[in-house]
Symmetry: C2
Subunit: 472 residues, 2 copies
């Protein structure tokens, strides 16, 4: 067993056995096989089912012992009470890595805790690493691995890896990212009860994982705080780590115990560990994906000076509040920038940062006014990053993908983001898609947009402080 | 002039003159007339244009002096430098109420400030009340009034009135509410530079306005703090007032001065006024509309005890954190409730509050499991409000409108909300529409859902404290 990298079999198995594979659509044991086929898994998939035969066109085997080879990874889609026996079979067959989706272990009272202890003692006695129980497993878009018991469509490949104590990552959240967020996924791991594999294993593995450029992690609490602090620091010095920690309140901590049986631990201890590691704490999934997208698509800003172009004065005011809140500043523009902007605005209209360009839009149209103002501010050497604010009304129509395409080409070194404030719901979907097709994140408010830029800046400051590439 | 209610002409004029009306589609002076026709304005609309003739099928007049009667309201769609002359014509014609959409006044430096002072001295000398400058005016869905210079489709009628220092309310935000938020609007007012009509006039008017059940206000700062404190307290004791105050930071305050020329004032003073008035402070437009919808559709909860049913454990944990954060509690369920829920879950699965029902969904399907668990918790007398959490995956399919319809019928006294966490983007739109068609607000996270319930509870506590119907 390669003890230096226990996660390899969970992300890059050359073969996978699905024990409890089913011919019935809608059953977890059918869905996993369907997902692996949908994702184009490269290695052999071995459905295991007492009646053998064929499942979704693949040869099924009556038991683990009958497989043509020892699979790198076993997914055990069995009722919880059959898990101990399965673990014994795995031990006998020489299996090293098992995912256990069933719930009803330490997430379900004392009896469940005893059952989990039994399963785990068999596993550890045989040197088997376990993800779960209560885990819907892993996804690796590069190899086509997808062990979720919830139906997935093939995910867009990219550099963002998400993991944590929820099956949402490989079900609802994967679907949300794929249909609405437009960024690509490298890997997913759903850790469930974390009887064995936990956040620390993941962070240690992903710090060196080439396919992973950004990490998003959700945790309800860890067992080994010292190792967590080390692993988080090492990962965060190698790449951005966005971390969402729940159980911030008393009621939250109580709910966690019944969710996965974990202890949530003290809020202040986690806050300190996350901050000292140079990771980015996020409040919720929205912030995690907002920031992940920015890290995946945008360069690090050279400084914290942001320029804002807005169709509406309230966009300017909200941006100003948000810039202060997220460690950014809004500098005055250089004279040449002001002069260039003035040409796009009526003579009486102020040209400033943030820039309210409604007067120009009213007189010269959105296309000309946005282009002139945005190009001028993007060219200004005293500006490090750019936010364009739109509201989706017919009067603001313009070719927004072309606009951002040109801006990014002219200034590939400056992060650029869009805020789509209110307006037509259908236009919102189209515009978001168009803007994100050229690698520019589009958010629903200036606040969200500048929070993402603030995260890029904070990470840059953190890595300068801890030094890039610092390891344990 | 009815000095006791200066706002009446701005919301319920029996006739409206559009000075600067235009035959050219896309021009503000054309759009206003088109909006009034689209909204079905009941009284006469008088387009005023030097070349007279017809505009959008309506007889146009060469000047104000030629109108068949003195209009209750004049909208002056003219370049800023013609505004003083127009105000003189209004004075001569006996007009009492004027909306000035043009910008370039106190929002544009010293020269603009002088111009505004000139316009306002003419107006006040003649007893004319002015909304603006830099104001795109008002909407009243009941009478079909819609003076926006931005194209609007007819808005759904309802009880929410929004006003403040941004034209977004009668442009992008109106479109957003109409296409995505599903609640109905009573009135809108965009106050612009507030040279005359301001937040205080609006609050005093709306406190007694029968069509308005909920108020959402955006302010960058008021001139008369003492009157604001009184007006806000009076309005908030009559109906829920959601208030968004920007300029919370130094950069924000600087941006406000160039937006509308207002002084933002001290954050702590506003925080105190809003709190003492019993109004609800909201951080952004998202929170304003989240809460407005809850107040518009839901009853006040009898207490702060919330019950949660979730497809996913992380939904339970996030709900627990959010409930603490928003002044709610998650009580233990009564034995009979636990027994009823147990029938919908596998024997090993815990039945608790918050309730993670995934194990039941896996074995019995989403329809049966949600129905059983939600009905049981809704029936529990120790629960005052209910949150159902969904994730939009094929495995969670159910008739969600029917489910909520039945729950609301069984317990009309209990506020109910939904959280649609992640999942398919297209399913999200459909589900939101279905759930909201039966008057249940659907949010994107447990946090947003419980923030809205928390606002209902907070308002109830506030009005109990200040006493309902307390007036100046």
């Amino acid at each position: 067993m390669d003890i230096s990298d226990p996660m390899k079999d969970f992300f890059e198995p050359s073969s996978v056995a699905v024990v409890g594979a089913s011919r019935t659509p809608g059953k977890g044991g059918n869905t996993i096989v369907a997902n692996m086929i949908e994702f184009g898994f490269e290695g052999p998939i071995y459905p295991v089912n007492p009646s053998a035969g064929e499942i979704l066109g693949l040869t099924a085997y009556a038991s683990l012992a009958e497989l043509p080879r020892v699979p790198d990874l076993v997914v055990a889609v069995l009722p919880r009470l059959q898990t101990s026996d399965l673990m014994k079979e795995c031990a006998a067959a020489g299996v090293r890595s098992v995912i256990v989706p069933a719930a009803g272990f330490s997430d379900a009272g004392d009896e469940g805790r005893l059952l989990e202890a039994d399963v785990m003692s068999i596993a550890s006695g045989a040197g088997i690493r376990v993800m779960g129980p209560n885990s819907i497993g892993t996804v690796n878009t590069a190899s086509g691995l997808a062990t979720s018991i919830v139906t997935l469509e093939r995910l867009k490949e990219g550099g963002v890896t998400i993991f944590g104590q929820t099956g949402m990552f490989a079900s609802g959240i994967a679907r949300w990212i794929n249909t609405s967020e437009h960024f690509g996924i490298s890997k997913i791991a759903c850790l469930g009860n974390k009887a064995d594999i936990d956040e620390n294993d993941l962070l240690e593995h992903l710090a060196d994982d080439r396919g992973t450029r950004v990490i998003g992690a959700y945790t309800e609490g860890v067992r080994d705080g010292a190792r967590f602090a080390r692993a988080l620091r090492r990962a965060a010095s190698a790449k951005p780590v966005l971390i969402m920690k729940s159980g911030r309140t008393e009621t939250g901590r109580r709910a966690i115990e019944s969710h996965t049986g974990a202890l949530a631990g003290s809020e202040s201890v986690y806050a300190g560990i996350i901050d000292q590691a140079g990771a980015i704490r996020v409040a919720d999934f929205e912030e995690m994906f907002d920031c992940a997208k920015a890290f995946e698509w945008l360069p690090a800003p050279a400084g914290n000076r942001v320029g804002v172009v807005s169709i509406t004065g309230v966009g300017c005011v909200l941006s100003a509040d948000a810039s202060d809140a997220h460690g950014l500043v809004m500098p005055l523009l250089q004279d040449s920038t002001v002069a260039a902007m003035r040409r796009a605005l009526p003579e009486w209209a102020p040209a400033a940062n943030p820039a309210d360009i409604w007067a120009g839009i009213e007189s010269a149209g959105a296309e000309a006014t946005y282009r002139a103002a945005a190009a001028a501010i993007a060219d200004d050497p005293s500006i490090d990053s750019l936010l364009l604010i739109f509201t989706l009304i017919p009067e603001s129509s313009l070719d927004v993908a072309a606009l951002f395409g040109e801006l990014r080409q002219a200034h590939p070194e400056k992060p650029m983001v869009a805020a789509l404030m209110a307006g037509e719901a259908a236009m919102h979907i189209q515009w978001k898609k168009a803007i994100e097709s050229v690698g520019v994140p589009a958010y629903t408010s200036p606040e969200r947009a500048l929070r993402a830029i603030g995260a890029l800046w904070k990470y840059k400051v953190n890595t300068q402080r801890t030094g890039p590439g610092v390891t344990r």
